[in-house]
Symmetry: D2
Subunit: 400 residues, 4 copies
């Protein structure tokens, strides 16, 4: 067993398979993908990467699986899936996921193509150790009884990232009790043929499940959706679109870039945006509008409609089209509210067992905000044009 | 300036007045009053005392006050009040507060008698330094514009205890951001004669205020109202009643005891209960009933009705009256929901600004539980008799 | 498996035997013995007890033993010994150890009488679970190949207390890497009949071993031998001697007291000292002399010589004999310097492998200080008389 | 005052000048210079940057200066110097410092050219706020009475990095007590005209100063000089030399690169080494020799002699010259041993006041190791040739 020192879990112990997987180029690349992409522009200590996060997820999965009654082969597949769950990420992680999804139809969780075809070295290591790459890919995609441990409402992914993001930003709200969570997970049912098992938290853990939901909601408000990070993220996404247009870079190659590759490319090839991102010379908010100010159709707009609005606003003001960014987040959701917890002997969905869920959903809705960003010196005309083009009902709120 | 090392805030710096106050017997006595009384029977690391908590509250008050525009004299009174806010506690803190209140009509916050009369040494130190003991006592009681900083919905007391209790129990849920809280506090209004100022959190802090409320609610569920701590606390309160009956101890003397005094006295004078508390040989839950199982009148019962029910149950079962304890908590409340936070330039009560409050209130209501406790070997007959006597609607829930 | 939340190790998992042992009165009593006795008068957060420390030592022993190739029976004995290693402590731990040793010849590590005879309940639990109390007692005494894991230069006792004392005082110097230490421990040799095995740190751990030694030395300087704690400790020891003289309390009963018992007894029966200890109204240093100022014979003085000097000084000044305390620590030692670590394949004693040991020994020698304490108003005459009586070579150093 | 959340110090408060300086491109560039360069290949959480470190150094300087009796103008210069002390670093910080020094004669502390000439924006901000860039540069270079606070044996730079590196690696040994250190610093002497003041630790702080030295020594052993980090660092330095030879890049441009620029350039222009660094496919140790095995002349060899030896070894084995790296560290030193601490009223150098210093120096000497690195498949022939060429006295030690 090899031990790697981790700032969150102390030591992460790797078996032989894990050691070999860590040494593949696909996994080593995760050293160069920051966990929180543009959040570091607000919280400068948040430079942690998907490399150590993946080790942490593996560590928690290993501990959770010790409490289940699994055969060695199944356990090995789960551990491998936990370790590899993020190898499908493009540069800057979630920030480029929309671009990749729109172009390929694939999310970062969809690693089947990667594990079973494209990245032969990961496949070779898995096969050499007697594991089935397709089965690993299915687990990463959340399939089967054990998929939800890797990707689901109660997955070890979110247990690790909440604590890790709290540790590295210095914000205390994400400090869930991972030790308790992994030991209170149960795999129930599934005894009969064809019956599926369910991942639940054992009796007495409504507050434990709520703590996960609350941590997520507070981290959303204070960290993940901080407006400076959103402005930088929207600029990055726009710059990537322009980069792909301009250079004709093949999407597979784009997806395999690391953060440093993309940062250099954007600065050199899309300098109007890339240099600003590198130097944190960011656009400002011209509009910052709550959900009640925004027409329902606009709330549900896709990227194409965003781009059309950007063009219309830029043309109305008479400035370059790259100087206006419309940023409409998806409707608020709290995936964790579907997690299952045993109450009085019966597994219930957290949203049925906890009155907090409705409140947290409402809070998420209140925090939903549409943003329009542009260079500081254009804020006023862009705000006027944007309100008009987007049909906003009242003056945007300039402060959070 | 003298510095005292603190496990939570690093170093607490004391000015001359604070140093003198710390040296009084009334303050030194707080070394012997544990912050969480019987919680240490569940969380064995929770042995911290009201001494270091009081230093922490003083530290946060000092930092908050630096951000206000106060004259030196007012600031000195606020700091003294923060330091002294807990000197009125009886042994085992909140655990004996009900007994003292019923006998004297005084809460631990009501320290006027103490500061202005009974404990001459604290008074002498205050007066020698040019402070008015009555003004300090009024601040501890939450009066005036600055009283709420010491005792109110946004007081530095709860900021310290949430973080300190989390640190010492090892439970992560109380980790609020005290650094942000004390720097975001504002004292607004109060410019005209006769107008009072209000303590509020500055713009952009709805999530900050929510974090305080959420921390409190989760700590309630997992720490403060843990059933083992409640059983031990109820046994302690019962033992104190019996002790006062038996020994005729004067209440002023009782109130001045420290934890070690009371523990020895209860063991020697009320051994049936006192020896059990000392050895953690606790009663078990015979009934554990949610609010919907309990008749409304019973929910609002006072100590006299609890004692009547205890006698009736014990007699029905034919056991000693000290062998049955009925523990009916007060109705759930969330004092923090009244804290004020500025939203779009206007101070609002948190319950109006945050959809979370209703959810948290509902969660507190769900967690409210009536308990009936007795020796393990009597659980069944006591449960039957108690359900009958208390008119419970359904079977008590035996598990948390 | 039952889990107990611990502020240092997260969760400590207890098997059935451990759960039963924890429930015995002898173990529950450890809740009432503070780990650092009078250190809390300097570091007010240091209220942790030998109860949670014992759980922590059990936790580390369990993890260390997992890495050895032991039969289940041996492992169970080691875990039990780790859990029970401190049940032999008197009230205020090491502070009363000298008194008990002088009267009975027994240290706190010598629990044979306790486990095998006096405390029948611990014995019964051990025997009911198939364990041999005498074998457990021998391990606590450091005997055999595995005794040093419980009590020796590389024992899990010091790994836990260094980290725990650092956590609770807030002083950062004790933060050794327990995770690394317990996984790098090896049990080597002992293959042939009659050959004994040795506990060593694996190759590549000279710095790990040094960190333990350095942590101990810095904690000595800043925490364990802080002058205020020493003054209070010396007053406590003196008060105990007077208490035993006055009350004729049987030593077995004295040894079984808890901190709260002793504090109340000393205040009530030896009020001149007991009230001062309770209120932290401590004697001051009249003399504080380095090893080079003290005649060699005096450095090695025993308690009888200390008491004779106290009497002589008190009489010379004409004050009560309890008003002078002479405090001569034992000669400095660094037990950890004998720990074994593998270097280039060969186990070596740390003092041979590390040049740091000599420096640390010299630092310990420099920090050795003889103290004479008395009420503040008597410092000058006592200092003069003490220098004369003790034959000190130069003026005592009044500052640390 | 603007507050930035920091994972180590909680919140760092920035005044107006600091806010403006942080916004300059020269300072924003520090976001892209990792604090520990190649250490992250061993400790994957160690991704922190010189940006947050610089904020931390500013924070500690501000707190230290509050305790001195300085005029506002001097204090402002010290704070600016603390904030800017690292803007002179090249890409990968200390890893490229040797190259830059050999080519320009300038260290990263020598920022005079930068502040007073090259980077006009930092100069403009300083001058606009009434500060003298040359005076700031002199402080960064350690000049004058206050220079040692920024760059010296007791500087706030090392206080921050020891704690920060410990936090982010997860290694506990660097946890010095920054709170105590900054409040115990004193500026003494310097009252008369022409007399210089000295920066010292106040009475009672020998152990505090030792803790700094010990932390540094243990972090050296376990983190800063870990062999994997040294191998990667040596490969990086070699790759940079080759890159500068091949591309003729001007040294000023090289020095202004950020980590991501250099990583991309090395991979694209020196792929034999650059791709290996990016993928952590590192050379192995062929030789790892202690100081007693190495001829004195070789210990003091410069880079030219290293390169000559590399060529000779490579030619002897018949492999590419880039496939052999000779890594001879400078002679061990412990700069901190010259720090001053007051003992019995007189400032002394730590090495005179503490017996530990000699031991730590000896430990540093023991840990000094010469390394020769090459691809895994060439370890044996390279080891033989290297021993011969370098005149090593005994077989290299293959393990640490």
């Amino acid at each position: 067993m090899k031990a790697i020192k981790d700032s969150v879990h102390g030591h992460v112990r790797l078996g032989d398979l894990a050691t070999d997987l860590v040494d593949t180029p696909a996994f080593q690349r995760l050293r160069h993908i920051k966990q929180l992409s543009t959040v570091r522009l607000v919280y400068p200590s948040a430079n942690h990467t998907r490399f150590e996060h993946s080790l942490g997820v593996y560590h928690l999965a290993r501990r959770a699986v010790e409490g289940f009654d699994l055969d060695a082969d199944t356990a090995a597949h789960v551990r491998a899936a936990a370790l590899l769950h993020d190898v499908g990420h493009g540069p800057y992680g979630h920030q480029t996921e929309g671009i990749i999804r729109r172009a390929t139809g694939r999310d970062h969780d969809d690693v089947a193509w990667l594990l079973t075809d494209a990245d032969r070295e990961v496949c070779r290591v898995l096969e050499r150790n007697g594991l089935d790459p397709e089965r690993v890919a299915a687990l990463i995609d959340g399939e089967g009884a054990l998929g939800p441990l890797v990707s689901g409402e109660l997955d070890v992914d979110r247990m690790d990232y909440l604590v890790r993001d709290a540790h590295h930003t210095g914000v205390p709200y994400g400090t869930v009790d991972t030790g308790r969570l992994v030991t209170e997970l149960r795999l129930i049912g599934g005894d009969g043929p064809g019956e599926s098992a369910d991942l639940v938290l054992a009796e007495g853990n409504v507050a434990t499940a709520e703590s996960l939901l609350v941590a997520r909601s507070l981290m959303n408000a204070v960290v993940y959706r901080h407006h400076v990070s959103r402005v930088a993220g929207a600029m990055l996404e726009r710059a990537c679109e322009r980069y792909l247009d301009r250079t004709g870079t093949e999407l597979g190659a784009f997806r395999r870039m690391a953060d440093h590759d993309l940062l250099v490319e954007l600065r050199d090839r899309v300098p109007a945006l890339g240099e600003r991102i590198e130097r944190r010379d960011l656009y400002k908010r011209a509009v910052w509008a709550g959900i009640d100010e925004v027409p329902a159709g606009t709330v549900d707009a896709g990227r194409a409609e965003e781009r059309a609005a950007e063009r219309e606003i830029a043309d109305a003001v008479g400035i370059d089209r790259d100087a206006v960014i419309v940023d409409i987040p998806s409707r608020p959701a709290l995936k964790e509210s579907g997690s299952a917890v045993v109450v009085d002997g019966v597994p219930q969905r957290l949203e049925d067992a906890s009155e907090l869920v409705a409140g947290l959903r409402a809070a998420e809705r209140r925090r939903w905000t549409l943003g329009v960003y542009c260079p500081a010196e254009r804020v006023e005309p862009v705000a006027d044009a944007a309100r008009d083009v987007l049909g906003l009902r009242a003056a945007g709120r300039p402060s959070a």
